[in-house]
C-alpha cells in the first residue's frame, strides 16, 4: 500500500539539499499549513455540495444543476459570493468578543482537523494523548458559540447560544465516554497507534457488542455536537431566525457555516478512526486472497470512503427526522445515553480482561 511518508521524506530531503536546517523547518511548516488550509477549504466546498445534492434527492428535487456540470461548481460560486458581501457593523455588540467568537470556532475546527490520520503516513499532529486532545480542542467550539451569542446583544442569538451550550456540553459527555470504550479496548490514546492496532480487524468487530453500542452512541452524540439534524434547536430557523449567528454577515457568517460542515466531517472522521479502522483496509482473518485484494485499494480512499459513509448517515438522519424539543433532547442524553455509555465502559472492560 502506498505510504505518504515517502513523499514527505522526499520533500524533506529535497529541501535540505539546498537550504539550512532552520529554513527547511520553516518551509515545511508553511507547506503543512498550506496543505491543511487547502484540504479544509476543498472539503468544505465538497461537503456543502454533497449536502445540497443529497438533501435534494431526499426531497425529490434535482438540487444545484446550473453552475458547472451537475452543479459541482455551485459551492465555489457561493464562496466567492459570500466573500463579496458587505460586513455590517452592528451598533451595540461587544466588538472584541464578537470578533473573537469566529476565531475560536475556526480554531477549534482546524486544530481537530489537523490531528486526523488521513492516510498511511499522512497525519500532522500525533500526540500520545490524541483522544484527549481531540475532545479538549473540539470543546473549544462551545466557548466560541456562547461568545457569539452573548456578544451580539440580540435576544435570538442569546437563546440560541444558551440552547447550544446546554446541548453541546451534555452530548460531549457521552461522546467522550463512548471514545473511552475504545481506549479501554486498545490501551492507547495515540491515534496512529489505535489505527495500527486495527490492521487485522476493525475495533467495531473486535469489540463485539460494546464497541457497536459505543459506535452508535458516538454517532448520535457527535451528530448532536454539530448542531444539525433533529438536534438543530440552537438555530431553529422558524423560531430563532438563525440562532447564535443571526447578527453575523458576509464572510463572518461564512466561518460559522464552514465550521459546522467541517465539524460534521470531523465527527465522521473520528468515528472512522476509532471504530472503523481509520485508513486500514477491511481484513477478514483467514481470507488471505480477499485481504490482499483489499490491500491494493489506497489508504486515502479507505479513509475518505468510510468517513463519507458516516457523513451520508448524518445527512440521512438530518433530512429524515423532525426537530426535538429541548426537554426531549436533554432527556435523551442524561437519562438514556449517559447511563448506557457508563455501563458500556464496564462491559468493555470485562470483555478485555
Amino acid at each position: 500500500m502506498f505510504d505518504f511518508a515517502i513523499v514527505t521524506s522526499w520533500i524533506d530531503q529535497f529541501l535540505r539539499s539546498f537550504l539550512s536546517a532552520g529554513w527547511t523547518l520553516f518551509v515545511e511548516f508553511v507547506l503543512i499549513g498550506l496543505v491543511i488550509l487547502a484540504l479544509y477549504a476543498v472539503l468544505a466546498l465538497l461537503l456543502i455540495y454533497v449536502e445540497r445534492k443529497v438533501c435534494a434527492f431526499f426531497q425529490c428535487r434535482i438540487g444545484p444543476n446550473r453552475v458547472g456540470p451537475w452543479g459541482v461548481l455551485q459551492s465555489v460560486a457561493d464562496m466567492v459570493k459570500i466573500l463579496l458581501k458587505e460586513l455590517i457593523n452592528i451598533k451595540r455588540v461587544d466588538p472584541f468578543l464578537f470578533k473573537a467568537a469566529m476565531f475560536l470556532v475556526i480554531i477549534a475546527s482546524i486544530c481537530t482537523f489537523g490531528a486526523l490520520p488521513f492516510a498511511r503516513g499522512l497525519q500532522t499532529i500525533d500526540f500520545n494523548i490524541g483522544v484527549f486532545y481531540l475532545l479538549a480542542v473540539s470543546s473549544l467550539g462551545v466557548v466560541g458559540i456562547l461568545l457569539a451569542g452573548w456578544s451580539s446583544n440580540n435576544k435570538y442569538t442569546m437563546i440560541g447560544a444558551m440552547r447550544s451550550g446546554a446541548q453541546l456540553i451534555s452530548y460531549e459527555l457521552s461522546a467522550g465516554l463512548s471514545l473511552m470504550a475504545i481506549v479501554v479496548l486498545s490501551g492507547s490514546m495515540q491515534l496512529s497507534e489505535i489505527v495500527n492496532q486495527q490492521a487485522e480487524m476493525w475495533f467495531i468487530f473486535k469489540g463485539h457488542i460494546p464497541a457497536f453500542i459505543a459506535f452508535v452512541i458516538y454517532l448520535i452524540a457527535g451528530h448532536a455536537e454539530t448542531n444539525r439534524g433533529p438536534f438543530d434547536l440552537p438555530e431553529a430557523e422558524s423560531e430563532l431566525t438563525a440562532g447564535y449567528h443571526t447578527e453575523y454577515s458576509g464572510i463572518q457568517f461564512g466561518f460559522f457555516y464552514l465550521a459546522e460542515y467541517l465539524n460534521m466531517f470531523i465527527v465522521a472522521a473520528i468515528a472512522t478512526t476509532m471504530f472503523l479502522g481509520g485508513w486500514m483496509p477491511l481484513h477478514i482473518p483467514g481470507w488471505e486472497g480477499f485481504n490482499q485484494v483489499m490491500d491494493f485499494i489506497p489508504s486515502v480512499i479507505w479513509f475518505f470512503g468510510k468517513a463519507f459513509l458516516c457523513v451520508f448517515l448524518a445527512l440521512w438522519v438530518r433530512w429524515s427526522f423532525p426537530r426535538l424539543r429541548i426537554d426531549q433532547l436533554l432527556n435523551l442524553e442524561w437519562k438514556v445515553l449517559m447511563p448506557i455509555s457508563l455501563i458500556n465502559i464496564l462491559l468493555m472492560a470485562l470483555l478485555v480482561l
Partner: protein
C-alpha cells in the same frame, strides 16, 4: 518535528485563515451606511432594552452537572489506558467510583434537576 511545534503551526494556520478571509472581504466587499442598518435584528421590530440580562436557570443546572461528569471523564481516561495492567483490582476500584457517580446522577434525577421546567 515535535507535536507541540506542529500544533502551533496548525493554530497559526487557523488564525491566518480567518484573518486572510476577513482582509479579502474588507478589500472586496462594498460598504454603505444607513442609520437603521446597525440595529439588532429582530424581524423589523425595534428592540427593547438590552439582551445582557438574567437568564433561565435551567441551563445553569445542566452546566453544573456537566462539570461533575466531565471531571469524571478526565479521571477515567488514565485508567482506560492502563486497564490491562491494573486488571481486576483496578476494574473493581473504577466500578466503585462509577457507582458513586451513578448515585449522584440518581440523586439529581430524583431531585428533578434533569427535568426541564
Amino acid at each position: 518535528m515535535s507535536n507541540s511545534a506542529l500544533f502551533l503551526v496548525v493554530l497559526i494556520t487557523a488564525i491566518f485563515m480567518v484573518v486572510a478571509a476577513l482582509v479579502i472581504a474588507k478589500l472586496l466587499a462594498p460598504t454603505s451606511t444607513n442609520p437603521l442598518k446597525g440595529d439588532p435584528y429582530e424581524c423589523g421590530i425595534p428592540t427593547r432594552g438590552t439582551s445582557w440580562m438574567q437568564f433561565k436557570v435551567g441551563y445553569y443546572l445542566f452546566a453544573i452537572l456537566y462539570l461533575v461528569f466531565d471531571v469524571e471523564t478526565v479521571l477515567l481516561f488514565p485508567w482506560a489506558v492502563t486497564m490491562k495492567d491494573l486488571g481486576a483490582q483496578g476494574l473493581f476500584c473504577v466500578l466503585f467510583f462509577i457507582i458513586v457517580l451513578a448515585l449522584g446522577l440518581a440523586y439529581a434525577w430524583k431531585k428533578g434537576a434533569l427535568k426541564w421546567k
